[in-house]
């Protein structure tokens, strides 16, 4: 589904019997506006709309398709080529301890998502544990511990230790002994200007070699999404993205930009504050939200 203005622009476009350059231009402007209002990165919007405009001007339509269907199909194709057609699962190697590490900007929802992910795995019969390596934020240990207790999942943390790598290693060794299959590591929030925190993240990644590093992105993140995500991906190997707070009114263009910047697929979305509020990523519904 498309927003009112964009739908109207498509209607105007397809009422023209031949390719009406003016109608195409108007449509492209409405598309750009919809994507920008959804927080999609400006450069990405210009790049996408240039490609779509060029294709929309093609006089030869594929057989058996109306211009309206063609234009809509084109928009969805371009966006889907960034997002992927369907959600991919987190790959857990059976019979071993899989370390999953959550990283992201301050307040994006990592700790809450760690709890949600642990419950998701536990429900599917995966022996799961949570480790707190956030040594900076006050109450981080208590927050994750309470979530772990809520879902009855084993928890490890060292409230007095300041060395995040040490806690991570100790937690992983402890849970390997316990034959835990998925060890979820929650880390402190950080952004690309905080060089020493980025060094810590690189250290964590090198020392504990996670199976998957997940970048947690706030669904209302704006134009800084692309460059922040790029910085995370250049520092560590980001395997996937989780977009949070999509129960709010953020349109998710920042997350789309983060996917474009990192090449990492979105695997889950957070749809609320409760520990059950985690859903598998569904590209079509994400796109319909994006386009308004």
């Amino acid at each position: 589904s498309l927003g009112k203005k964009l739908s109207e622009a498509v209607r105007k476009l397809v009422r023209a019997p031949l390719v009406d350059e003016k109608a195409v231009k108007e449509f492209i402007i409405e598309l750009q506006r919809a994507l920008l209002e959804a927080d999609t990165n400006v450069e990405l919007v210009l790049e996408l709309s240039k490609r779509i405009e060029k294709r929309a001007m093609e006089v030869e339509l594929p057989p058996g398709i109306t211009r309206r269907e063609y234009v809509l199909k084109m928009v969805y194709e371009e966006l889907t080529s960034i997002l992927g057609k369907r959600s991919e699962p987190i790959r857990l190697k059976p019979g071993q301890s899989n370390v999953i590490m959550l990283v992201g900007i301050q307040g994006s929802g990592k700790t809450t998502t760690a709890g949600k992910l642990a419950k998701y795995f536990k429900k599917r019969g995966v022996k799961t544990a949570l480790v707190c390596t956030d040594t900076f934020r006050l109450g981080a240990y208590e927050q994750l511990k309470q979530l772990a207790q809520q879902i009855e999942v084993p928890f490890y943390g060292e409230p007095a230790t300041k060395d995040a790598v040490k806690i991570a290693k100790n937690g992983i060794n402890f849970f390997k002994e316990e034959k835990i299959e998925a060890i979820i590591i929650d880390t402190a929030g950080r952004h690309k200007e905080e060089k020493s925190l980025f060094e810590e993240m690189i250290s964590l990644s090198k020392e504990i070699k996670p199976q998957e590093i997940i970048l947690v992105i706030d669904g209302s993140l704006g134009q800084q999404a692309y460059i922040q995500a790029k910085a995370f991906a250049e520092a560590t190997n980001i395997g996937s993205i989780i977009v949070t707070k999509l129960d709010g009114s953020g349109r998710g263009g920042g997350a789309l930009s983060a996917v474009a910047a990192t090449g990492a697929p979105i695997k889950f979305i957070g749809m609320g504050e409760k520990i059950d509020d985690l859903e598998s990523f569904d590209p079509p519904s994400f796109l319909s939200r994006l386009l308004g």
Binding site: Q106, Q143, G222, G254
Partner: protein
């Protein structure tokens, strides 16, 4: 020569994209641009004058006008607190999830202490895991009292308790930390309205994350419509932001931004500097 609509549109297009790329909401960028266009189309200028320069200067002035509320209605928090006869001066922090309300509450307490004022904290986030312990630890670091009840207790009751506690001891200020909430949740907005109704704060502050995109407009508008905001605080400004969030907040609330958060330490609270933000938005 005359400034034509076509020439203004062309000049505005690039400038608008620059504002949007700096996180000014598209709606705000459009509204400001429309004003500029209205004032310029049909105006006669000299043959040698550069239309793009004129449009840019006009847009700059329009941005300054939106941010002017931060100069004209600047709030001197310390004076406001010192001048209030019937203590305590009550501050409430509201906003969506994860923007930095709790840390900002602690930063404000730190500031007040340094200015010789005493204050207490109210743990009105009775929902989120670890929220009470988080605020307690801040209170401990700052050597100030925190009023709290258990998880699941009534948020307005905690705030009310805190105000009574402060009133009985002639404490200068109460800083109420509330739970994060999406402004689209009717029940949660009713909860925060109740907190405000029960304690009648002197200062209702919207806390916004400077990294937020177009949603900043929706958040600020909804909180403003429901509570009547007195001001705002913009956090995570240290994350190399371009400043558009400040323009969106000023535009929709018409209230001043008191402070900006520039880091994770107590000292990382600065006064909002209008010139600095205009320079960021329109270099």
């Amino acid at each position: 020569k005359t400034i034509t609509e076509r020439k203004v549109d062309d000049a505005l297009w690039e400038l608008k994209l620059q504002l949007i790329g700096s996180d000014v909401s598209v709606i705000v960028a459009d509204k400001i641009s429309e004003e500029v266009k209205k004032n310029l189309v049909g105006v006669k200028i000299g043959l040698l004058e550069n239309i793009n320069e004129i449009v840019k200067n006009s847009l700059r002035k329009a941005v300054e006008d939106v941010l002017r509320v931060n100069i004209n209605e600047k709030i001197d928090l310390i004076s406001e607190i010192k001048n209030k006869k019937n203590k305590p001066y009550i501050i409430a922090l509201v906003g969506v999830n994860g923007v930095g309300k709790t840390l900002t509450a602690a930063k404000i307490a730190f500031l007040l202490k340094n200015k010789g004022l005493n204050c207490i904290l109210a743990a009105s986030d009775t929902f989120r895991a670890g929220s009470i312990e988080q605020l307690e630890k801040h209170a401990n670091n700052l050597n100030i009292k925190v009023i709290k009840q258990g998880y699941g207790s009534d948020a307005a009751a905690v705030a009310y308790d805190a105000v009574n506690y402060a009133r009985a001891r002639n404490i200068d200020a109460v800083i109420i930390d509330t739970a994060g909430r999406v402004q689209t949740d009717k029940n949660l907005m009713e909860e925060v309205k109740k907190i405000i109704r029960v304690v009648e704060p002197d200062l209702k502050i919207f806390v916004g994350d400077a990294l937020t995109g177009n949603d900043m407009l929706r958040q600020a508008e909804e909180f403003n419509n429901n509570l009547g905001l007195d001001g705002a605080i913009l956090t995570k400004v240290d994350a190399d932001i371009k400043g558009g969030a400040a323009l969106s907040i000023s535009y929709i609330t018409k209230k001043p931004i008191l402070f900006i958060g520039v880091g994770g330490e107590y000292k990382d609270l600065e006064e909002f500097n209008v010139e600095k933000f205009i320079e960021m938005l329109m270099p």
